[in-house]
Amino acid sequence: MSGSDKSYEPGSPEAAELWRQIEVEDDSGSGPETPETLLIAAYVDGTLDPPARDRVEAWMAGSSDALDLVLAARAAHAGAPLAAPPADLLTRAQGLVRPPVAANTGWRHGGAGWFAGMVRPGMWAAITAAMLFAAVVSFELGRETTVKLAATQTLTVASADDDGLGFDPIAGDLL
């Protein structure tokens, strides 16, 4: 028994040949579902309990990309110094979040704060002025219409009197 077992040392030709017989080139992604990112990170950091660890390893066994990801995450913590990223990346990434419009607007949370920061304060003053202007114009138009209507009624009364009807249409009595 021990003699035959000895031939299956890691890297031995006999073991490699046995592996080649069962190697399946199936990377179609049809293996276990990808665990959530935090679970994978916890596996790399060695903080998972055995059942969760088995789940991650089942995923790794089903996809070469999965194993690549874990290998890369481990390599990242091997202590190698990191190259400085391009300055443009820092500028672009920091620009993704804008400061809030005002400290007391209450719009400080995430996307709402970002939107409030995008709106210029002067825009609200312009909107208010436009609404006031529209109200004044509407009032003036309404007043002009009323004056014209009154003038038309006066003209109608005067014309009726000139016809010599012999009676006062307002009083309603025969003269």
């Binding site: 890691p10 069962i22 399946v24 066994a61 194993l67 990801l69 990346l89």
Partner: protein, 180 residues
């Protein structure tokens, strides 16, 4: 609570300087992870854009992805590395779907190496545990040594040897190899 965790809480409250510090602190980690995956694939020039995409994902929808991080379960650098690496893999997959006119491809790129036909035998589901399959994959497909495989799985080298031994015993029994 560590200083980093406290700063993360301020960031999630919409503190702009906290976000700027976050970017300054972790951009090297994210960029390095992306470049490490894209560089060998000949797409190192895309690393900056992919890294920017990672930051977009982190702050999208009121920092939804960042809010999912739990400092009790993993280090933030590990978590960000996993996200960045996944983003790089997604980018490469999208690039594989890109097609270009055949006339624009150099002739040398069209050469195909001869592939020797291999007999592939499928093993029954459950014959090997996921860890046993992983160990064999690392040792024979990726040519990793025992120490590297042990470091990857977070176990000692003797565990790798033992797992390897048990896996091959199962395979031998499955293929019914004659005893020597």
């Amino acid at each position: 609570m560590s200083a980093e965790t406290a700063d993360l809480d301020r960031l999630l409250d919409g503190d702009k300087p906290a976000w700027d510090r976050f970017v300054g602190r972790y951009a090297p980690v994210i960029f390095a992870a992306v470049h490490r995956r894209l560089g060998p694939a000949g797409r190192g020039g895309d690393a900056e854009d992919v890294a920017q995409d990672v930051f977009v994902r982190l702050c999208a929808r009121d920092f939804r992805l960042l809010r999912a991080y739990d400092a009790r379960r993993a280090r933030i650098t590990t978590w960000l590395t996993v996200i960045a690496h996944s983003a790089a893999i997604d980018h490469l997959r999208r690039q594989r779907g890109y097609t270009q006119p055949l006339d624009t491809v150099p002739e040398a790129a069209l050469a195909v190496d001869p592939i020797e036909p291999a007999v592939r035998l499928r093993i029954p589901d459950g014959l090997l545990s996921p860890r046993q399959s992983l160990v064999l994959d690392m040792l024979y497909k990726r040519d990793m040594d025992v120490a590297d495989a042990a470091a990857t799985l977070g176990v000692d080298p003797q565990t790798i040897r033992s797992t390897h031994h048990k896996a091959l015993i199962k395979l031998r029994a499955h293929f019914r190899e004659p005893e020597d």
